[in-house]
């Protein structure tokens, strides 16, 4: 085996092996567990940077194993996959730090971190899958490894959330599998390729290909929380905060969104999908999801539920960008995959901080929280402003590209969808900020767990991750035009995806 083959495997195993070892560790071996966790996260980050450098230089990385004759488990690290891998690897490190702080003294930490590592492994597999078969393997693995995290607390409410989650994802998985086997039967393979593989089949299969597209998108749409398949996401918010943060802001929903990107660009090919008239319905579903999610968020008093509906809305920006036929919209959608992840994880970290430190779970309890926890609230404000698309935040960059993309594609209505969503975002985020900063401090907090200690408003492991991700939200916008930003990478992908087309 050479480096080209070893590196993708190493990325996978850097979280799989620590995860498996952690399962076997006794609960009290805190230091060993923490070391293993951090070692895995840092090692993965290092490996991912090696891959980034390699792929940027034009190298190709991949490995495949024959599972059945004619059916390969195949991994490849291409530019598109690396976008998702890098995001997950960076956020995994910070979420691990956060989770160590968050779960201090809580029971069943070995189980938690074990499944947590498995989830990250599955996410990496999804990002590196080189064909739909491999994608599906890791996609279902993600479903299974997330379930124990959702029901981690073992309460009846957690069980209900977990059951709803499974019902949605397993049925979605079945639709996805049907589509994949069907496609495999028609084409003989399901490899991802630039420009797609379905176009080669010819016109007489158009009808079947449309049904398959519907099955595939419904399958990944469950995880991407497209309306009306989004019902599990708010329910799954019973999970502990680090799980909500990484999995329901990044790994799980992004796995769905990423699946949409792969299916549209590398299975069907964006031009072929356009010729089958598949992109417009997708854009409409995405638009409906964007508006509906924002609208529902308005009426949630539970902070995490409000964020969850906001996720429903924001993830569909990616789908919308993909469905806008043209490189500019593609860049907007892809860059939002990263930007939304950074911003939303910040918000979830902060929500966890409020709950852990002061016992605040509801928006109506947020009065004066900014005075008591200025740093957390600052980070929260940056994330929230980003979501609204305020200037100098990552959200503004993605929104600008999406708007341009919509205009370039001649779909002016999509710009109105984005504007409406921004207004709604403001309508459900600004009251929170107003309460936190401007309302007076109440006489007593709902349940104060962590007392203030000098300038430090809460445990430093809880404070550091949201501060860093908030800073990243700003940095992604301020340095958007440099070579190392998510935007630059998204442009690289678009340039490779739209070969022969003019790229901005």
């Amino acid at each position: 085996m050479n480096t080209q083959e070893l590196l993708p495997l190493a990325v996978l195993f850097s979280s799989l092996l620590p995860g498996l070892v952690i399962f076997a560790l006794p609960e009290s071996w805190i230091a060993v567990r923490t070391t293993l966790n951090l070692f895995g996260a840092i090692a993965k980050l290092g490996l991912v940077f090696l891959l980034l450098a390699g792929v940027h230089a034009g190298g190709s990385y991949g490995v495949r194993f024959e599972v059945l004759p004619g059916l390969d488990l195949a991994l490849k690290a291409d530019a598109l996959g690396l976008l998702f891998i890098t995001l997950s690897a960076i956020l995994w490190l910070f979420t691990t730090l956060y989770a160590i702080g968050y779960l201090e003294g809580a029971p069943h930490r070995s189980r938690f971190f074990g499944f947590f590592s498995l989830c990250v492994t599955a996410t990496m597999g999804i990002a590196m899958a080189a064909n739909l078969f491999t994608f599906f393997v890791f996609y279902e693995l993600l479903t299974l490894s997330t379930f124990p995290l959702v029901v981690h607390r073992g309460t009846d409410k957690a069980m209900k959330g977990g059951t709803v989650y499974l019902a949605y994802t397993l049925i979605g998985g079945t639709a996805l599998l049907t589509g994949i086997v069907w496609l495999h039967h028609l084409i003989g393979h399901t490899e991802f390729a630039h420009g797609g593989i379905a176009a080669a089949l010819g016109g007489e299969y158009a009808g079947q290909l449309k049904i398959i597209f519907l099955l595939l998108i419904a399958g990944v749409g469950v995880k991407a929380a497209l309306v009306p398949l989004h019902g599990w996401l708010p329910q799954a918010m019973v999970a502990p905060a680090p799980v909500s943060a990484l999995l329901h802001a990044v790994a799980v929903v992004k796995a769905g969104a990423f699946g949409i990107v792969r299916i549209v660009y590398e299975v069907y090919g964006v031009e072929f999908a356009q010729s089958l008239n598949l992109l417009l319905p997708l854009a409409i579903i995405a638009a409906v999801t964007i508006i509906w999610g924002s609208f529902r968020a308005l009426f949630q008093d539970d902070l995490k539920k409000r964020l969850a509906f906001s996720t429903v809305s924001q993830v569909s920006y990616i789908a919308l960008g993909v469905a806008l036929f043209g490189p500019i919209g593609t860049i907007g959608g892809l860059v939002h995959l990263v930007h939304q992840g950074i911003m939303k994880i910040t918000l979830f970290f902060c929500a966890g901080n409020y709950a852990e430190t002061l016992g605040i779970h509801k928006v109506s309890e947020m009065d004066g929280a900014g005075r008591r926890m200025p740093f957390t609230t600052l980070a929260f404000s940056i994330g929230a402003l980003g979501m609204m698309g305020a200037p100098l935040t990552a959200g503004a960059v993605s929104k600008a590209w999406l708007m341009d993309g919509a205009t370039a594609a001649g779909m002016a209505w999509a710009t109105w969808v984005l504007w409406t969503s921004s207004l709604l975002n403001a309508a459900y985020f600004l009251p929170i900020l107003w309460r936190a900063w401007l309302r007076p401090v109440p006489t007593a907090w709902p349940e104060e767990h962590i007392p203030r200690c000098g300038w430090r408003e809460t445990a430093w492991l809880l404070l550091l991750p949201p501060m860093v991700t908030a800073a990243m939200t700003l940095a992604a916008a301020l340095f958007a035009d440099t070579g190392v930003s998510p935007l630059a990478w998204a442009r690289l992908i678009a340039a490779r995806e739209y070969i022969g087309l003019e790229t901005p």
Binding site: F23, F65, E66, V67, L68, P69, L71, L73, P107, H108, R111, F136, V137, E140, L141, L144, F147, P148, V151, G154, T155, D156, M159, G162, T163, L166, L170, I171, G173, T174, L177, T178, V181, W182, H184, H185
Partner: protein, 474 residues
């Protein structure tokens, strides 16, 4: 006497006798040593056939057919031999810790296990129909005795019902063999195969129907499954595991053997009927599993459902992928169900309750066992990367290739139903334990042997190629 075929039959008989003489303590070690040697033999045999691609045969005592006993091995039988030893060895490790000293079921377990394994191995290598009958009876009687060995009233009742079913099944089979002998004057599979044609006399048709019906009864295909849930649900856990993983597969293997061999011109008429029963088994078995109160009853009904998948392949057999799907499903279910029964045995031992509801809090005390249950459940649901997934994939693809949509739909729906009953158990185990409920500690060997079986069922999903190559030559 250097032929592995002979040793695979002689060895278990030898250690069964030794175990009887030595008693359960030392007998268990002899059995495990024997099984280890058999596993090695089965591997060597599979490798030889996989490499050469040709079938091996052996005439016992130098007397070939039609006078003597012929043994023959091809890819399919080598695969079955391999599965048998692979499942039996971890279960032997499991059983050694499972039976307490002085437990009557434990005393009889080891000799009976030896006879059961010898019967299975002989069945898989037999080359004539009458010899198969003898091995079928040996397997059936050993299995009934294993169920009854516990001595409880319920177990004896279940065993009697089982005995009735198995005798009726092999009786029907024997009658069919006799009719075939009357028509053609031979019982050798190889000689019969070219003789039977589509224009065969009515008597041959009746013979075929009798044989297959008897075997379906022994395979517990819906609606002949009535004997299985009490027998498999009531036996001690290692016995349930052996029965569900191996014994029902033996009679299915014979149906497959007849189908691919002598009865090939006759049986395709019944292909859709069998698939229909298979589909009914999937829905009925899953539904009963979803409703079951007792844990082992749930798993036993799951066996009824999973056996249904095997019968879905018959209308598809024109496509070579269908046979492969069947074999990998036999492996997947064999390993997973053995692991699942073993895990259930651990949970019942630890909680002292045999209901699903009694499992609350099991995840805290028995993480390894629950993990094993989850992995086995993955295989039963057909989720990747397990071997059950490969089976499902191949069934669906073969069904699509031949335009038989409905089979694909049944297979997919069956996976979702399996998810309902598997997660019913897992969900219960994740609930917080009721206050003040203590759990007994269980030996680690129990937990880890269950885990090994379940993990094997998942890991096979990553390396299905070798197995497929082995069967491809059949």
């Amino acid at each position: 006497m250097t032929d592995p075929l002979i040793w695979l039959i002689v060895l278990p008989l030898a250690w069964a006798t030794l175990a009887f003489a030595l008693g359960p303590g030392r007998g268990a070690w002899v059995a495990m040593a024997g099984l280890l040697a058999q596993l090695w033999l089965a591997f060597a045999l599979a490798q030889k056939i996989g490499a050469g691609g040709a079938a091996l045969s052996h005439a016992v005592g130098g007397w070939g057919a039609p006078l003597g006993i012929d043994l023959a091995v091809d890819g399919l039988s080598a695969a079955m031999l391999l599965l048998t030893q692979c499942v039996a060895l971890p279960l032997a490790v499991y059983a050694r810790s499972y039976f307490k000293t002085g437990d009557p079921a434990g005393v009889w377990f080891w000799p009976l296990l030896g006879f059961l394994i010898a019967g299975l191995n002989a069945l898989f290598v037999s080359a004539d129909l009458f010899n198969i009958y003898v091995t079928l009876e040996l397997v059936g009687l050993a299995a009934v005795a294993l169920v009854a060995a516990g001595g409880g009233a319920q177990q004896v009742a279940a065993a009697l019902r089982y005995l009735f079913a198995t005798l009726l099944g092999s009786g029907a089979y024997l009658l069919g063999v006799a009719l075939l002998y009357g028509a053609y004057g031979t019982v050798s599979i190889a000689t019969l195969t070219p003789l039977v044609t589509g224009e065969a006399p009515r008597l041959v048709w009746i013979a075929g129907i009798l044989m297959v019906s008897g075997l379906m009864l022994k395979t517990a295909l819906f609606p002949f499954h009535f004997w299985l849930p009490p027998a498999h649900g009531g036996a001690p856990a290692p016995v349930s595991a052996l029965l569900s993983a191996l014994v029902v597969k033996a009679s299915f293997y014979l149906i497959l053997r007849l189908w691919l061999g002598p009865l090939q011109p006759l049986l395709p008429v019944f292909a859709w009927g069998m698939a229909l029963l298979g589909a009914a088994a999937i829905f009925w078995g899953s539904w009963q599993a979803i409703r079951a109160v007792k844990l082992k009853r749930l798993i036993a009904y799951s066996t009824v459902a999973q056996l249904g998948y095997l019968f879905l392949i018959f209308p598809l057999l024109a496509n070579p992928a269908a046979l492969k799907a069947g074999v990998i499903q036999i492996f997947a279910h064999g390993l997973a169900k053995a692991g699942m029964f073993a895990a259930a045995g651990v949970m019942i031992k630890a909680t002292g309750q045999d209901t699903v509801a009694g499992l609350a809090g099991a995840v805290e005390r028995l993480p390894v066992t629950l993990f094993a249950f989850g992995l086995a459940g993955m295989t039963l649901m057909g989720l990747p990367p397990s071997s059950g997934f490969l089976a499902k994939w191949q069934i669906i693809e073969a069904a699509l290739a031949q335009g038989y949509w409905i089979i694909a739909v049944v297979a997919l729906a069956g996976g979702l139903l399996a998810a309902v009953y598997v997660f019913r158990v897992l969900r219960q185990a994740f609930l917080l334990a009721p206050e003040g409920r203590a759990m007994a500690t269980v030996p680690r060997a129990l937990e880890w042997s269950a885990f090994a079986l379940a993990a094997a069922s998942v890991l096979l999903g990553l390396r299905g190629v070798e197995l497929m190559r082995l069967v491809g030559g059949a």
